[in-house]
């Protein structure tokens, strides 16, 4: 199918690039003094990114909507987590809801 040297090059560059992206933060932080307010902003930035990741991975698939089963499962998990139900149950309930709805024919 595709040629192996090109595939290896793609993987190598992705690996080096990904590591550089991950390493950039810690490398920068050790070199410069960051004021307290900026540190709070960085912590908030991580939460904003993670929350956006939750929303896009729960509600979308590719460039379109993700159907019903997955968002419903995430919603159930989210409500349980908000009610401080043990983590294990949050995960199991989310998966079971989505699986159950698919069994019933929901997209």
């Amino acid at each position: 199918m595709t040629n192996t040297p090109l595939l290896l090059t793609g993987i190598a560059v992705l690996a080096v690039g990904t590591f550089s992206l991950r390493f950039a933060g810690p490398a920068l932080r050790s070199r410069i003094e960051i004021p307290e307010k900026a540190q709070q902003l960085l912590a908030a930035a991580a939460i904003v990114l993670l929350t956006a990741l939750v929303a896009t991975s729960a509600l979308t698939q590719g460039h379109g909507p993700a159907g019903i089963a997955r968002p419903a499962g995430v919603l159930v998990g989210g409500v349980l987590a908000w009610r401080k139900v043990p983590f294990v149950l949050v995960v199991v309930a989310a998966a079971a809801t989505a699986a159950g709805l698919r069994l019933l024919g929901a997209p």
Binding site: M1, T2, L6, L7, G10, I11, A12, L14, A15, T18, F19, L21, R22, F23, A24, G25, P26, A27, L28, R29, S30, L41, L42, A43, A44, A45, A46, I47, V48, L49, L50, T51, A52, L53, V54, A55, T56, S57, A58, T60, G62, H63, G64, A69, R70, A72, G73, G77, G78, A81, W82, F87, V88, V90, V91, A94, A95, A98, A99, R102
Partner: protein
């Protein structure tokens, strides 16, 4: 390193183990989908060890298996992983300095970053980050090998609802941080931006655009309080 395991409290250790296990099952489906899509077994395994970032790996093998260029797959993967820069800035003191920065950076995932941010005490943050990172690395790679060997037998773990478990895990992990009103406002604005951008932009970019929500981070106006 031994002190990390001592610091970890039992409830947290159990939660981390559960996430590692779930990641292992997703790794299984990733390995199976890659091989089922016609790629040689070494491709998904090599990606998992040297790239170690689930979303970008799925994207990479998806593009290549569909006959796309590995260069395009690489660019897409890098776009998806660019959020790690902000994560690295946020968790750098959790990773620690010196030699730890190398393995610590490679072990960075959405899950262990969220685990670390969810702890109040510095020792617990460090323990959650490292235990989560190492555990996920091991489980993910073991899962990928098993899934790849199982080949086309299991191609779709959506039947088990695992695609819903993942956003739910992350949601449970960020909920405590969202109790802070300023963070919550910024996150909600970010979510709206990311969702609105998803139909039009390449994977990974909408999530990055969510950072624009930070412009509202200091919005302490009463009007917003009412609107909420």
């Amino acid at each position: 390193m031994r002190s990390i395991w001592r610091t970890l409290d039992r409830g947290l250790a159990r939660d981390i183990a559960l996430v590692c296990l779930a990641d292992g099952v997703v790794g299984l489906s990733y390995g199976a989908i890659s091989v089922g899509g016609g790629l040689p077994l070494w491709v998904p395994i090599l990606l998992s060890i040297v790239v170690f970032a689930g979303a970008s790996q799925f994207l990479f093998v998806g593009i290549v298996a569909a006959g796309g260029s590995p260069i395009a797959a690489m660019i897409a993967g890098l776009l998806v992983n660019s959020r790690h820069v902000a994560f690295g800035l946020a968790v750098s003191d959790v990773i620690g300095g010196g030699w730890r920065r190398w393995p610590g950076s490679h072990l960075m995932t959405d899950e262990n970053v969220a685990f670390a941010m969810g702890q109040d005490e510095p020792g617990q943050r460090r323990a959650a980050y490292w235990a989560g990172g190492i555990g996920i690395f091991v489980c993910w790679n073991v899962g990928v090998v098993i899934g790849g060997l199982a080949g086309s037998v299991i191609t779709n773990t959506d039947v088990f609802g695992l695609d819903a478990a993942f956003p739910a895990v992350l949601l449970a992990l960020v909920l405590p941080a969202l109790r802070d009103r300023r963070t919550r406002t910024a996150a909600l604005v970010g979510v709206v931006i990311a969702l609105a951008a998803t139909p039009f932009l390449p994977a990974g970019v909408p999530v990055l655009l969510a950072l624009a929500g930070l412009l509202f981070y200091r919005a302490d106006k009463p009007a917003l309080e009412v609107a909420r």
